[in-house]
Subunit: 137 residues, 2 copies
DNA sequence: TGTACTGTAATAAAAGGAATTACAGAATGA
DNA sequence: TCATTCTGTAATTCCTTTTATTACAGTACA
C-alpha cells in the first residue's frame, strides 16, 4: 500500500461519522484533508462501490455514511483501498532457472496471506465508531 | 511499504541461506532476482548494516549470512527495509482548523502502531529457516 | 599485477501518484 | 424554467519515487 488512499479514506469516513448524517461536499472534505476535491470524489466513489458511503448528486448534494459508524469495521476500509500487497512485490519476473527464483513468488504470496490475515483480524475488531471516539472534542 | 525492497531482501536472504556459507556475488544474485546488480549491492549494504549479512570485497568476494538462518527472524528483515508506515500517509498537512483534521494524524499514527505490532508479532515467530523450508527441492 | 569482485555516487529512465482542467449531468429552489 | 451548486468522470500535466545504468575507486586474490 504505497499511497495515501487508506489515510484519505479514513479521514473522509471520520468526517462523515462526525457529521452525523449531514451531507458533506467534496470541497469541504478536501479542505479538511488538504487535497484536491477530485481525488476526494474518486475515493468517495470507491467507498460507495464498497457499500460504506452514499452520495447524492446536484445542489446541496454530498456524501454520508451508508450505515452507522458502529457497523463499519476498519477491515472494510482496508479492503476498499487495498490494491497491492502489504509488503510489496518485486516488479520483475525472477529467474525460472534458479531453484529459489522459480518458487519465491509463490512462497512470498503465501507469507503475505498469513501476514494479512493477522492484520485483518486486528482491523475487524475496530469500528469507525471506535476510531472516532478517540478524538477529543 | 511502496517498493520492492522487502521481497528483494527476502530473495537475497533465501539465496544466501540455501548457499550454505558459500559466498554469492551480487551479479549472481541479481540474475536470480532479475534486477540490476547495483540495487542488490545496496540492499546487501542495508542488510549488512542491520547485522543480517556479511560481505567480502575483492576477487572471489560476495555475501553470506551473518548468522544461521534459524536465528534470523522475518521481523528483522521487516525492520531492515521499513521506511514508511504500512498503510501509507497522506502527503499534505490536514487543516488544523478542522477538529478532525487537527487530530487525524495522531490518531492514525496510534492505529498504525497497533497494527504494526500485530504484524511484527507474527513475523517474530517466523525464521528465515522456516521460510526456506517451504521450498521444494 | 591483472582480474574479479564490492561499495558508492551520480545520473537517467520509467513508473506511479496527485493535481489540475474540463465538462456533462443531476438536484434544487427561486 | 433556468441559474446555481453540486457530483461523476475522463484526460492531461506535474511531481515524486523507484529502478536502471554508468562510472570508478578500492580491495582481495592468485
Amino acid at each position: 500500500m504505497n499511497n495515501g488512499r487508506f489515510p484519505i479514506s479514513m479521514h473522509i469516513l471520520t468526517l462523515l461519522a462526525s457529521a452525523d448524517g449531514e451531507l458533506l461536499s467534496s470541497d469541504y472534505i478536501a479542505g479538511s484533508i488538504n487535497i484536491n476535491p477530485v481525488l476526494v470524489r474518486k475515493e468517495i466513489s470507491n467507498l460507495r462501490n464498497h457499500g460504506l458511503i452514499e452520495s447524492k448528486e446536484g445542489k446541496n448534494g454530498g456524501a454520508t455514511l451508508a450505515k452507522p459508524a458502529e457497523k463499519i469495521q476498519l477491515s472494510e476500509v482496508f479492503h476498499a483501498v487495498q490494491q497491492a500487497s502489504l509488503l510489496g512485490n518485486s516488479k520483475n519476473e525472477p529467474n525460472p532457472d534458479c531453484p529459489v527464483g522459480k518458487q519465491i513468488k509463490q512462497r512470498l504470496d503465501h507469507l503475505y496471506l498469513e501476514i494479512e490475515s493477522a492484520l485483518l483480524h486486528k482491523l475487524e475488531k475496530m469500528s469507525l465508531a471506535d476510531f472516532l471516539r478517540q478524538f477529543q472534542q
